[in-house]
Amino acid sequence: MALPTRKFDAVIVGAGGAGMRASLQLAEAGLKVAVLSKVFPTRSHTVAAQGGIGAALGNMGEDSWLWHMYDTIKGSDYLGDQDAIEFLCRMAPQAVIELEHFGMPFDRNEDGTVYQRPFGGHSQNFGERPVQRSCCAADRTGHAMLHTLYQRNVRANTLFFVEWMALDLIRDASGQVLGVTAMEMETGEVWIFHARATLFATGGAGRIYSASTNAFINTGDGLGMAARAGIPLEDMEFWQFHPTGVAGAGVLITEGVRGEGGYLLNKDGERFMERYAPTMKDLASRDVVSRAMATEIKEGRGAGKEADHILLKLDHLGLDVIEKRLPGIREIAKKFANVDPVKDPIPVVPTCHYQMGGVPTNYHGEVVAPANGNPNTVVPGFYAAGECACASVHGANRLGTNSLTDLLVFGRASGESVIRFLKENPGHKDLPVDAGDYSMQRIARLDGQTGGESVFEVGAEMRRTMQAHCGVFRFPDMLQSGVQKIKAVAERAKRTEIKDKSKTFNTARVEALELDNLIEVAVATLVSADARQESRGAHDRADFAKRDDVNWLKHTLWYRDGSRLDYKPVNLKPMTAQTFEPKVRSY
């Protein structure tokens, strides 16, 4: 069936920080670029980023990209690719200065330079002492970045397709990517976006977990599309968990609460962190605190009727401290936990926050996959940047502030790569005759399904399975049974049914198509986690407590076809710097 077609030089899926930084590069080069987004661009999840942008500007004291590189590699627990990390850290200052020139309202020093905040994990001189490296705009850095980039894109004539959902990647027989199919929500019509280059910037898929800090739009659409088109997903077992998300809601309670003297209790009222981290106690690093909480819950010392959460006590701080030093926390606790923290503790659980894995790329933002004996063969015409991509700069654990740095540096770099590719490859290649058939079959299946499964129920079962079997702390028996369970959920997801078949603004259809993407990510995560027999960064196994560089200093690649796994080496060779050899990670 021939679908209506639009032609562009480049199509970008996703209008958060990475997508809009890339589209700006292309539009300012005079190219015809379409950006597809499910929601209005400034409502992308980048808006939630508060921490800042990590860049060694040295505005607050001596700093160097090499020190930033060391911190990032150490933070990644040595799973990050050192060429990509060198590129990230070397390009970061330029990326920030460019954004400043675009009009980003950064906080300033008295001399007019960009103010930089301290942030955990960032240091001077290879771990000697903390450094102020985070460039921010109050606690609204993500918001300011989105607005700056959106306005600049409008000026550059980027074409935004808002409330459009991309469905599938179009590849020809040689494997080259020639665009996407996408559905306009207003009409329910499916179009082909025929493009000389296609870039995914669709963000993370944190909604695979019940306890997630991610907004509802984070459904891993790019990962689902890539997986269905035969592209592997890299390092999907690595998800960063934040220790204190409100139980049942996911909304973040900032680490500042524990910084001000709040602490965690189990159901017996015991301050259990004293057992796990006698010195740092509740202020130990995120992974240590999350692991301790998960252990307390697993061993039956969780609070509440279901013994499924931990209590964050701060009433002893008093009303004044809570109101003055922790603005907004009381409102969040009242609204999302129905407790007033001035009197009662807040129920919290370790909560999924950030996806380190994704669509494999090199540091040019080109998507790579194994072919002809090379694990990093470029997939022609296909690019990815931001949380949906795995360059890999975050490795097994992301350092705070590096997510926004990633968006800017790799958004720009992938845009530059597209420009080079288009110069060398003029004109549109012909679409395959069956382009679009796969998407139409998926929609026809959904519309024709009778006696099928509820999208809501299958989604809930997926989230419960991920939470129980593949959370912050991983147990061998739970991983094994989790793989079987999630595969059964994936079978149910093939039979989802929607009652409302109408075309105009049918949100039930959109949610069913989002579930198709989430389930690919969920299966990839559980299968990859079950296979990795070590603990590294965010992947913490009870039965293999230590990092194993002899057997596991390698990237996982998960293929949808047969849920097959492959591996590829970590690139330990930087662009110009000397290799940072893996060492024991301690802070």
């Binding site: 400034t42 409502r43 808006v47 609204k335 949100t507």
Partner: protein
């Protein structure tokens, strides 16, 4: 099946309640379930106007850290501020 909402205005509103901030996703979803259909057409329009605001500004309004100068908006925000999520 017959469609009581042929121009899908409720679906449009529901989708525009999908935000970049989880805090808003949760509050707005709960509000839609609980009371949106009971609003007058004028209030529905006011709600739709609020959804056009930036996420951070809307969250400040909904959490009571800021207030709208528009009376109709402020009245509706008062309802939104009372939405329970648990």
């Amino acid at each position: 099946m017959t469609n009581p909402d042929p121009d899908r205005s409720l679906d449009r509103i529901r989708w525009r309640c999908r935000r970049g901030l989880l805090e808003l996703d949760l509050i707005l979803a709960r509000f839609l379930e609980g009371g949106f259909e009971r609003l007058t057409p004028a209030q529905q329009e006011t709600f739709s106007g609020l959804l056009g605001r930036a996420d951070t500004d809307l969250w400040d309004l909904v959490s009571g850290r800021s207030h709208s100068a528009d009376q109709a908006e402020e009245a509706l925000l008062d309802t939104l501020r009372r939405v329970g999520t648990v």
